[in-house]
Amino acid sequence: MSSTRTPTGAPGAVPGTDPVTGNTTVGALAPPSRRNTELAMLVFAVLIPVLAMANIGLAKDGSLPPGMLGYGAGLAAIAGIAHLVVRRFAPYADPLMLPIATLLNGLGLVLIWRLDLEPTITTARLGGAMAPNQLIWSAVGVLLFLGVLILLKDHRILQRYTYISMVVALILLISPLFFGEVNGARIWVTIPGVGSLQPGEFAKIVIAVFFAGYLMVKRDALALASRRFMGMYLPRGRDLGPILLVWALSLMILVFETDLGMSLLFFGIFVVMLYVATERTSWIVFGLLLSVSGAVAVASFNSHVGHRVDNWLNPLSLGANGGVTETAQAMYAFGSGGLLGSGLGQGYSRLIGGIATKSDYILATVGEELGLVGLMAVLLLYGLLIQRGLRTALAARDPFGKLLAVGLSGVFALQVFVVAGGVTALIPLTGMTMPFLAQGGSSVIANWALVALLLRISDTARRPAPEPAAGIDAEQTQVVRT
């Protein structure tokens, strides 16, 4: 509705406080849209990967890589189109999310391209060069991003599809069971001619939609109509039933698919959203109990998971065949990077071996070649993206938007933690991909959609409320915080 409104104080209005706080008094001036901030940031987000590419080319062959200009132009075009669409369809959206996603995606592409230059991990048996396909997947991801922004005028429309989301999420989670096992986990769906997809990556978004819709309706019932049991308030069975059912089903599926990372993600999002919706601390205890029992069950069911725990406890010990394990190789990569790193293109993260170097272990390349400094910068980018998502949740005016935003940001944060913590041996390794950075089509597409949803919510949140009908009451309207 107000998307046609031109932002008033856009140029030069960059400094100053964020206008969106808890209470917004709608005055004569509309808040700045910050679209020009976004554009300026996007310039950096495109330049940094292009310079990184030049850096790699110079380090490897002493010349600028031939594809650099085309690549830079392509990335700039993608970013430009995305920016224009945001300007048109979500003018008040958060200005940092798109640049951060673009930068991470661009860096990821450059890193994959850099690893493609290592012949030992780019053999035909391992699938050859990955960067071209990843570029296509990224483009598809951005298209989905644009589609969400253009077609989804208001995130509250999703509320109508609460139960459909539940069904879709379950189908997505079940589908890999009908396909083969890859690397000890059954998380892939192979579509002939297209490639393999990881439905779990999409399920995490869909399930957030379901939880948000369901909890928005049931939150009062869950929070208030409860029975006291052992000092804790337990909700009535009929309120809790569907949510427990979904949780138990997804847990079972994950046990059979042995996707530890994704189950962690689902438990996490389940606990977080329940807690936010009901505002009851007892839910954290309850949720954690469920999660821990689930995790213990998975660990005892499956030797694959037990093996991962051993690797985590002794990351440097040699493997069963006397060789150096992937975990140890990743640790050596991080350690060898040291404070400042070896420089792009000059590390040996290829020693990790296999395609995992480009997907699960991509952070090891960041750590080795860009050093502690570069790795912390990348982690901070993720932190910033998460922070912008949570900020959106705080600022959103409707409970569904709040819940959805906190769910999406939470799931993103957990994924970053689980992956980065796994490859640095902070926690046991679970096979998941680093959002945007790692090689993998499903991940990059799903995460672009996730960012699009967050942008849509933030646009609604930051958009000035409709002008009060001019009339008898001259007083300013107070927007009530929800």
Binding site: Y275, E279, L316, M331, G335
Partner: protein
């Protein structure tokens, strides 16, 4: 809903903080440990990323580096006359690690040593490729070659020392191996390595016999017994007659008799005569009279019972505590005492150097890429096993051995040569072929480089009767001595 959301935000912040702390721990606190972990292949990759510094003999490099097209390692070690020099250099293999000089001075050769910090920094600033320093050895190429050729087709070892400084002039072990054959990372390198291992090759070509193998010293040990007798005052001179019958009955035994090779000349013989005719009876008697304690003391003053580092580790030669009959037998080198060729060369060197044993060494100096000397060895005295008078007396006796005794094959015109043969029996009831020994020294009259040499030949191919110190080992010792004194 905002209050729990703020808490969720704090929780997410804590997760990020945990990640940041973790990467700081791994990449800063643990970094050095991970960088230098032996399982971290980057260590080997870096080692072979630049041409390695060289090991130098008489101004010429006996090692080299060649560029390869392997995936990980850019340069591969090469060796000139690898088989001949292997007991000196050891090896530096991309896959199988490093040993001996290649290992001990690895940081100098790669250029990573702290003492090369300055030249490394200059290289970095001027954009030059990183260079390694070099290790300058004391070896004498002619002597080494003479020893190597002398042992051709045989099993054995030679150690030669400059008695006045302790500088090692030759160090040969045969059969040997060419470290070039497994310096790379190809499957051919792996096969070459496997073929050299003891389980696949009974000749044990990778055993450094000169430093690491101990042999029964046989009759060559008699010079040590003689030195002990003189030092202990049992005899005042090498020409003083002794009081030992032939055959000699070993102490504490029910008449176990010990005879001599040459019968009829050893009864009550003086040290000079006993050395010339290699009299078992005299030296067994002397050893018995000196006693086990005195013999251990004498042996230890020559360096027995202790590992020697030259700087490559040499195995400890042993003279153990034992009962009286065994101690008497040890006096002729036929009991539980064992010695490395290097040890016997040290014994000879101490006698030749008028009783002063110099610490053996084979690295003269370490040189930085810019030719600055990083470390210079200064000859140092290790011990004084015998007085100058006794040493000179023993020299004259050993020279008699070469002039008119069993060691005549080692005679060199115009050079003062002293020596002692040995034929050490070994195996249960002497069933294995004996080891042929020869120890000798040469002092050129014109003041050139003196040399002390020990040769052992453990030859399975020769006929039993023909194995004798004088026949097999002495000509090799002579060739080595000639190479040193003529090259001066």
């Amino acid at each position: 809903m905002n209050k729990p959301m703020r808490r969720v935000a704090i929780f997410c912040g804590l997760l990020m903080l945990a990640l940041l702390l973790r990467v700081n721990w791994v990449q800063f606190v643990q970094a050095t440990e991970l960088q230098t972990d032996p399982n971290n292949r980057r260590v080997a990759i870096e080692r072979y990323a630049h041409p390695r510094g060289d090991i130098i003999v008489e101004g010429t490099a006996i090692t080299g580096s060649e560029e390869t097209d392997g995936t990980d390692f850019r340069y591969k070690r090469t060796y000139t006359d690898g088989e001949m020099w292997a007991p000196v250099t050891g090896f530096a293999s991309q896959v199988f690690g490093t040993t001996q000089l290649e290992s001990i001075y690895d940081s100098i050769l790669t250029g990573d040593d702290d003492r090369l910090f300055f030249s490394r920094t200059i290289d970095m600033l001027t954009g030059k490729d990183k260079q390694g320093g070099s290790v300058v050895t004391t070896l004498n190429e002619a002597a080494q070659r003479a020893a190597w050729e002398g042992l051709e087709g045989k099993k054995g070892a030679v150690a030669a020392i400059d008695p006045t400084t302790g500088a090692i002039l030759a160090l040969v072990s045969a059969p040997s191996y060419d470290p070039s054959t497994f310096a790379g990372g190809s499957s051919a390198d792996g096969e070459a390595w496997a073929g050299l291992q003891q389980e696949n090759n009974e000749d044990a070509p990778m055993l450094n016999r000169a430093l690491r193998e101990t042999y029964p010293p046989g009759s060559t040990f008699k010079v040590l017994t003689a030195a002990a007798a003189l030092e202990n005052g049992l005899l005042n001179d090498v020409d003083e007659s002794t009081d030992y019958p032939e055959p000699y009955v070993l102490p504490d035994t029910a008449g176990v008799e010990l005879g001599n090779q040459i019968v009829g000349r050893c009864e009550d013989a003086s040290i000079r005569i006993a050395l010339m005719d290699s009299c078992n009876t005299v030296f067994a008697g002397l050893s018995a009279d000196i006693g086990n304690e005195g013999m251990i003391e004498a042996a230890e003053s020559f360096g027995f019972n202790e590992e020697v580092f030259v700087p490559v580790r040499a195995a400890a030669s042993v003279y153990p505590e034992d009962n009286r009959p065994q101690n008497a037998m040890a006096g002729i080198g036929q009991a539980s005492n064992r010695a490395t060729p290097l040890q016997m060369a040290m014994v000879t060197a101490a006698i030749a150097n008028d009783g002063k044993l110099m610490e053996p060494y084979m690295v003269d100096r370490l040189v930085a890429p810019n030719l600055n000397v990083v470390e210079q060895h200064r000859p140092s005295e290790m011990s004084r096993p015998l007085s100058p008078e006794n040493a000179q007396a023993l020299q004259s006796a050993m020279e008699s051995v070469v002039e008119e005794g069993t060691g005549q094959n080692a005679r060199i015109d115009g050079v003062r040569v002293g020596g002692k043969t040995g034929t050490a029996q070994h195996g249960e009831d002497n069933e294995n072929l004996p080891y042929a020994w020869f120890i000798s020294y040469a002092v050129p009259e014109d003041g050139g480089t003196p040399v002390a040499v020990a040769v052992v030949v453990e030859d399975g191919s020769a006929e039993r009767d023909r194995i004798s110190g004088g026949g097999l080992a002495a000509p090799i010792a002579k060739a080595v001595m000639e190479a040193v004194v003529s090259g001066g």
